[in-house]
């Protein structure tokens, strides 16, 4: 956005403001560093479009961990962070969620072929199957937790763990667990894609999506003005369907088609 910086009427020529956009560098295909070390991924590419649309801002992308991203945005070290973040009421205490969401994320259950008929969490709970541990700092944990609170009579056994040590695909296929909460985007790239590292398991596994969820950038509490600018820009980008194209590119599907079914 260095080009064509406009000056507001009445004020002195406004300087281009540099802002830091933190992203979870281990979040392929949402946000990650490519072979050459450049930031890319669905959410990054959308943010790049936003940057272009906002001449008075210049974005700098800071690769970091999701822990640091959360602390850093809250503290103001980063003005905004993207990490496939979902909305919860409580989170609005610490961050500004803008009006416009950033992307969509499909969530489902990864299962062995023989459990194909399990379509959602309540089926899963009824069948008394075991679920792979979910990282404590992951919103998937919250989804299951919320389900459990809403359905106290039919709970899924939920265990916290770490994304780091849990290879859900392997665990499910191995039989260590019966199923795992999984992201559609990852499943597409990892198992369905011909060059995916677990393409050899494509016939043994199924992925049943039970929800599509909006993902949001998290703004620092003092950045209302920036958030508003973002809203303004993203609205147009979405209208131009540029987001759909990026989603196909990075996730292999266009979840925007399912937007009517999205509840949160």
């Amino acid at each position: 956005a260095t080009t064509g910086a406009k000056s507001d009427a009445g004020a002195a020529k406004k300087e281009v403001r540099k802002v830091k956009v933190a992203f979870d560098q281990g979040g392929k295909p949402i946000g990650y560093l490519d072979e050459k070390g450049n930031p890319t991924g669905y959410e990054i590419e959308v943010m790049k479009l936003v940057d272009k649309a906002l001449p008075e801002y210049e974005f700098e992308y800071v690769p970091t961990s999701s822990e640091d991203l959360l602390v850093g945005v809250q503290q103001g070290k980063y003005q905004v962070g993207v990490k496939n973040a979902w909305f919860t009421e409580e989170r609005t205490k610490s961050y500004i969620f803008p009006k416009e969401f950033l992307g969509l994320s499909g969530v489902g259950i990864l299962l062995k072929k023989k459990n194909e008929n399990i379509k959602d969490l309540s089926d899963f709970a009824k069948a008394k199957l075991s679920l792979a541990p979910i990282a404590a700092s992951n919103a998937q944990y919250t989804i299951v937790d919320e389900y459990n609170q809403a359905n106290p009579e039919n709970k899924v056994k939920l265990e916290a763990g770490d994304a780091f040590s849990v290879d859900v695909v392997q665990w499910v296929n191995e039989g260590r667990v019966d199923g795992g909460i999984y992201l559609g985007a990852t499943y597409e790239k990892q198992v369905l894609a011909k060059d995916g590292p677990y393409h050899n398991l494509a016939n043994d596994l199924v992925y049943n999506e039970f929800a599509v969820v909006k993902t949001w950038p998290l703004f620092n509490k003092k950045e209302q003005e920036f958030a508003d600018a973002y809203d303004h820009a993203i609205k147009k980008i979405k209208e131009e369907k540029k987001t759909n194209k990026l989603m196909v590119k990075f996730y292999n599907t266009d979840l925007f088609k399912l937007l009517d079914t999205v509840k949160r």
Partner: protein, 235 residues
């Protein structure tokens, strides 16, 4: 096992990991350097006669030793710029590696101060006395006579702490600094979390070789310093 294991990933990962080795070296090297200096100062304070210095040094050691690394890292990473901004300096653009080095140095110093204190105290006081009696200054007596003997005692523990520090890459990764450990995580996530076993095996291989080299170096040093020493042998 074959279903999940593909040794090609190991060989593929090795060169990628190795190209980040210099980051590991840089961070560990600087932290060891500064941490050792800090540890030395603290050890001197602990061994001195001033009650206040002893209290300060002990307190520092307790707090730094007991603080989880990740918390300390955040304290430095967020606290330092906050303090600096009170003095009108903006540190937010400082390289992340600097924060990592500061964090490790602070922690390494606390641990080294205990290593050095015990090593010093283990040396018979007669050695120091004899040295000053032949006209060495206390500093010379320390450097020439006590230090080499204390080093023998300190080296194994120093080695422990040094290797520990080298492996703290996951911590650096938390604030976005990528060393070989961090690179391993990146490779894994770029594979969508699959084949991590192979990547970690490659990582272990590199670490293992490093640790062997470092140990060889230390045992050479130990040999040099332990000239003339009789060790306990059971019969």
């Amino acid at each position: 096992m074959q279903t999940y294991f593909d040794s090609a990933y190991i060989w593929g990962a090795l060169p990628q990991l190795l190209s980040f080795l210099h980051v590991t070296f840089m961070v560990a090297g600087l932290s060891v350097l500064f941490g050792t200096i800090l540890g030395f100062i603290l050890a001197v304070m602990k061994l001195g006669t001033s009650k206040a210095s002893i209290k300060i040094a002990n307190g520092y050691t307790t707090i730094l030793r007991c603080t989880p690394s990740i918390v300390l890292l955040f304290l430095v990473y967020y606290g330092l710029p906050a303090i600096a901004s009170n003095f009108g300096t903006d540190l937010n653009h400082l390289d992340t590696s600097i924060y990592v080095v500061i964090t490790f140095s602070l922690q390494f110093g606390a641990i080294m101060s205990e290593v050095m204190r015990t090593a010093y105290e283990a040396i018979d006081r007669g050695q120091y006395e004899a040295a000053v009696s032949v006209g060495l200054s206390p500093a010379q007596a320390f450097r020439r006579i006590v230090l080499p003997q204390a080093s023998v005692v300190a080296l194994p523990n120093f080695g422990n702490s040094l290797l520990e520090l080298m492996k703290e890459g996951s911590l650096a990764y938390t604030i976005g600094l990528v060393d070989i450990m961090g690179k391993a995580s990146l490779i894994i996530s770029n594979n969508y979390n699959s084949h991590s076993l192979e990547i970690y095996l490659a990582l272990s291989l590199i670490y293992w070789v490093l640790s062997i080299l470092i140990e060889q170096f230390f045992s050479k040093l130990e040999k040099i310093f332990s000239k003339g020493k009789l060790v306990i042998k059971t019969t």
